[in-house]
Symmetry: C2
Subunit: 111 residues, 2 copies
DNA sequence: TTCTTATACGTAGAATATCAAGGTATGGTT
DNA sequence: AACCATACCTTGATATTCTACGTATAAGAA
């Protein structure tokens, strides 16, 4: 529900964070995000897949097809070492930007 | 110094916040941002002006030329009512997204 | 005087990104 | 059979960023 700019800023760190907790696939990542955000973030698949492809192209995640018997094919993504580093950087960036905005907005530490 | 995605997400709320504290002009906004962020954010002018123009086109800010004697011309921007509302929305969005990431990352309230 | 730096605004264009809309296919349920 | 959920993908319109460039004046240094 957030604005475009903010949406764009959160897709990458959110995906990397979810993958840092274990391999996962596109469709399920969408469900995870919805659950984690308490329904606030409802990603469409058409929005997610291009981002996953880009992250893979950039070397932050890797993929493998897994086909279970009597199940659908799934493309599982894993975070790479480069991806872990990237996540760390994104995290630091986010925290310092939040710190700046927090000061500007005079937010209490609890928010 | 932050990533492109995060930069994009902060320009709008930062500009609106600065203007909500009083009218200001492009060149000085860049200095303000640098000061506020302790040098972390160093915006270029070529990056800021298009954003200001867009915000004005969208009705969130308004502008007026001011020429002081023995001084340069300056284009002062003011936040509009619509801009104040927009800032409020952006603020809420930011706070709720931060809350989601904070939980995911297990950050302490002080961060 | 002339050069440089700081102030102050702007645009063009390449590169990048978003996101809705549409497409394919299988499994399970009614 | 019909329908929904699962699961992946691409295209194309639109928007956005940001580098690089251009214009101009004032102040201070060489």
């Amino acid at each position: 529900m957030a604005s475009k700019g903010l949406m764009a800023a959160t897709t990458k760190p959110l995906i990397l964070t979810i993958l840092s907790e274990g391999k996962n696939y596109g469709y399920n990542i969408i469900q995870q995000v919805k659950k984690i955000s308490d329904g606030q973030l409802q990603w469409s698949d058409g929005m997610l897949y291009p981002v996953l492809h880009r992250l893979e192209k950039d070397g932050f995640i890797s993929s493998e097809w897994i086909i279970t018997t009597s199940d659908r094919r799934r493309k599982y993504y894993s975070i790479t070492e480069a991806g872990k580093k990237e996540l760390h950087v994104e995290r630091e960036d986010w925290i310092s930007l939040h710190s700046i905005l927090k000061n500007l907005w005079g937010l209490k530490p609890t928010t």
